[in-house]
């Protein structure tokens, strides 16, 4: 409902097979796939990854529109990459066609990479994601790394990002309705014009943080060391299979050099 609708990978519950995988399996697979897309250099590689992505989105039962909307911010980056590539090509005396083609290639790769990345938060609730991270980071607690706190922080951040987006939208409206000219004028004026948005936002964030801390304490949260889970993470066969498939895919890609 807001004007700056940037649902940065907000969870879309559909109950698909992908949703029901262990978050750890999804995290590992995503890391593997992303690390394989990065170095891929051929058209065939990109086409195959597109196919994999298509299969993944279909299996997740999430609409393409949600996926594209979540990956929206990266499109700007992709266009920027393309332009930058063309300009850089001019300096290197490449022919325009060559630099356009390779620029388009890089942009598409970036978009595909981002779309794989957003599939994780789209199919995994913030709490599951935090639980998965918590479990994977657990060994670090031996080195006094505050695993509980960090995973709770991530879960809370994911929960509150959409809310703060709405809040920002409301603040912008309140200031614009008082005649604020946001992002106009020279650099100095522009920076200054953002203060009426930034300051209320910071005040609100601090106030919220304060109230949330009290509400969490009132519900018995004491750092989370002895917390149990309603749905404990259970590693099943399908999770092992998922990770294995991703690993084999990635291995093949690197081996063949696609």
């Amino acid at each position: 409902m807001s004007a700056i609708n940037m649902n940065l990978g907000q969870y879309v519950p559909t109950g698909s097979i992908i949703h029901r995988l262990d978050p750890r399996a999804k995290l590992i697979s995503m890391l593997l796939i992303i690390s394989a897309i990065f170095p891929s250099k051929t058209y065939w590689g990109i086409i195959i990854w597109c196919g994999v992505l298509w299969g993944l989105v279909c299996a997740s039962k999430i609409s393409w529109r949600s996926v594209l909307r979540s990956a929206k911010p990266v499109f700007f980056l992709a266009v920027f990459t393309l332009i930058f590539h063309i300009i850089a090509g001019l300096f290197r005396d490449e022919s325009l066609t060559v630099s356009v083609i390779s620029g388009v290639f890089m942009s598409i790769r970036l978009v595909i990479l981002m779309m794989f990345a957003v599939m994780l938060p789209l199919t995994t609730s913030p709490l599951e994601l935090a639980d998965g991270l918590d479990a994977m980071l657990r060994p670090l607690s031996r080195f006094r790394f505050p695993v509980n706190e960090v995973s709770m922080m991530i879960a809370m951040a994911l929960r509150f990002i959409p809310l703060l987006m709405e809040e920002t939208d409301r603040i912008i409206r309140a200031q614009v309705s008082r005649g604020a000219r946001i992002g106009q004028g020279n650099i100095f004026q522009r920076v200054k014009s953002f203060m009426p948005i930034l300051i209320p936002l910071i005040v609100i964030i601090f106030r919220r943080a304060d109230e949330i801390a009290v509400a969490m304490e009132a519900r018995g949260y004491d750092g989370g060391t002895s917390r149990t889970r309603r749905k404990p993470l259970i590693w099943r066969w399908k999770d092992t299979i998922t990770v294995m498939i991703s690993a084999v895919c990635v291995g093949m890609f690197i081996e063949i050099g696609l």
């Binding site: 409301r170 200031q175 008082r178 209320p200 018995g220 002895s226 309603r230």
Partner: protein, 556 residues
């Protein structure tokens, strides 16, 4: 009544013994001063106080969030400071005003599970507690929902479920319905009544007893300037309410009159012959805004506004009413071009509403918009700078600017020593006044306010209502967007009803009273209206009256 007697004899669950609290060191910033009272097991108590009376601080002390500076708070006969954290958290639960600040997970079930998870229960026990809490709050059918898909009232019930899942004996509620619309408020009250009947101890902190809850409340504690000013039963409270600075509900005033004159309530009223409708002469008016066939969609599938036609007259006070999500905010945000028109037309003073360029800034100066939450706009380090923001943007300079700031300040009834103060450090009511002043300082012709009274105590409500009436009398056009039917009926000249993105009706309160009544549940009608609807069951000729003044006139 049997319930009352039963819980009276119970041992105290919460005992506050001579509690004092200071925010600063060495007794500076004293918020509470030697507060003592107790609440018995199974009792439902209300702690009443105006803004700044120290009631929220008291809530945090009873809830064991902060320790008192002096005195002690006992739970089940034990000093709260000596109770084990986990035991305390499964005895006393707290619900606050804003559900968004209490819900920690994105999915409803995950959130309700938070407290039992903290208690280290097994997955089966946790699920049991979650199902139980969702059933108690009538949220079971939303079980698989994402929190973001819930309405405001549902979110607050979700937050309540999250508290109940800790299996507490006592609930402390700090203004739990202040941010909700009437139907959301009624549903929470229904849940609270049910819980109370099941034996839950409830302590409700509020600035005004809501009509729907006072029959269930057994004990009232009035807090003022950090001390207990009065305590007793709810019936005794109403006897003393006016001298304690609280408004008596209209229906109670009528009932009292009937009792003292031997009239049966409400049937006896049927014999009275109230004067018919107040006939106000039809005056000539100019259109300030003319909305013609306006439609608006956020995305392709759903209309936020559908074919809206409305006249907003110059110098009138128009109230726009309708449920949450009926399109009220979207409509008024069109009026100063915060939303671009997609379909249809809007005329301002006979001219098409500007959509871009400098003309838009000129429009925003003429039609000011005050949002519900002052926190969304206050950003300056002094009230003076805050009030100068809008006029400066509108091109006011030098002396004119200073004069505009003073104008805004005086319109809002704030004294000059406010100019140097920091808006963030003001109280909630003062912040609201500064936010309104910061829009008025640009000298707008039209002022649009979104829920101007929400969450304020009676004295600030009166201040704002007085201010708006004065501005209207000076010729400004006032538009209020509200759930508050009392305000809409008593103060505004005309009412526009929206439902499901469409205009249901538009007109003077008396003319469209049936549509207004149809727009909300009978429980949410203004009290006098409810009484007259009762009387109409006996005497169908009895007119629908919403004004206490009018019914009291015919009583005499």
């Amino acid at each position: 009544m049997s319930n009352e007697k039963k819980s009276r004899n119970n041992p105290p669950l919460i005992e506050v013994c001579s509690v004092s609290f200071s925010y600063g060191r060495n007794n500076t910033g004293r918020a509470l001063n030697r507060v003592s009272f107790f609440v018995a097991k199974g009792e439902r108590a209300a702690i009443l106080g105006h803004n700044g009376s120290g009631k929220s601080t008291l809530a945090k002390i009873i809830g064991g969030i902060i320790d008192p500076s002096e005195g002690s708070c006992m739970v089940n006969g034990k000093d709260i400071r000596e109770i084990d954290f986990r035991e305390l958290r499964s005895t006393v639960g707290m619900l606050f005003q804003d559900p968004e600040n209490q819900i920690v997970a994105a999915m409803l079930e995950d959130d309700v599970a938070f407290a039992p998870e903290n208690q280290g229960l097994s997955p089966e026990e946790i699920q049991l507690r979650v199902d139980m809490a969702l059933a108690q709050t009538d949220m079971l059918r939303k079980k698989d929902s994402a929190v973001s898909a819930l309405s405001g009232g549902e979110k607050q019930r979700a937050a309540l479920a999250g508290v109940l899942a800790a299996n507490v004996e006592c609930l402390i509620l700090d203004e739990p319905t202040a941010m909700l619309d009437p139907s959301g408020r009624l549903k929470i009250e229904k849940v609270l009544r049910y819980l109370h009947a099941e034996g839950m101890t409830i302590i409700q902190i509020t600035h005004q007893l809501e009509a729907e809850s006072f029959s269930d409340i057994q004990k009232v504690i009035v807090l003022s300037e950090g001390g207990v000013k009065w305590q007793g039963s709810v019936n005794d409270f109403w006897e003393n309410a006016e001298s304690l600075g609280f408004t008596v509900p209209d229906s109670l005033k009528i009932k009292r009159y009937c009792d003292s004159h031997g009239i049966k309530f409400p049937e006896g009223l049927a014999e009275l012959k109230p004067s018919a409708k107040i006939s106000t002469p039809e005056t000539k008016y100019d259109d300030k805004f003319l909305v013609d066939g306006l439609s608006f969609k956020y995305d392709e599938n759903s209309y936020a506004l559908k074919d809206i036609n409305a006249d907003i007259h110059a110098g009138e006070w128009l109230s726009i009413i309708g449920k949450s999500g009926s399109g009220k905010s979207t409509l008024v945000q069109h009026l100063n071009a915060l939303y671009k028109i997609q379909e249809g037309k809007i005329y301002f003073d006979g001219q098409p509403l500007p959509q871009k360029g400098e003309e838009v800034y000129a429009l925003r100066q003429k039609a000011g918009l005050v949002f519900q939450n002052p926190e969304d706009q206050l950003f300056s380090s002094t009230v003076k700078d805050e009030l100068a923001f809008a006029p400066k943007n509108a091109g006011f300079k030098g002396e004119l600017l200073d004069e505009a700031v003073i104008y805004g300040l005086e319109c809002a009834g704030l004294s000059r020593d406010f100019l140097a103060r920091n808006p963030i450090a003001l109280s909630g009511g003062e912040r609201r006044l500064v936010a309104i002043a910061s829009v008025l300082s640009a000298k707008p012709e039209v002022i649009v306010l979104d829920e101007p009274l929400a969450g304020l105590d009676a004295s600030y409500q009166r201040k704002i209502l007085g201010m708006l009436s004065r501005l209207r009398d000076e010729g400004k056009t006032i538009i209020t967007v509200t759930h508050d039917l009392d305000m809409a009926l008593h103060y505004s000249d005309r009412i526009l009803i929206l439902r499901d993105s469409r205009v249901i009706n538009e007109g003077r309160p008396y003319e469209i009273i049936h549509d207004i009544m149809g727009s909300v549940k009978p429980e949410a009608w203004p009290e006098v209206l409810r009484v007259s609807a009762e009387v109409r069951k006996v005497n169908p000729d009895f007119p629908l009256i919403y004004d206490y003044e009018e019914i009291s006139r015919c009583l005499q």
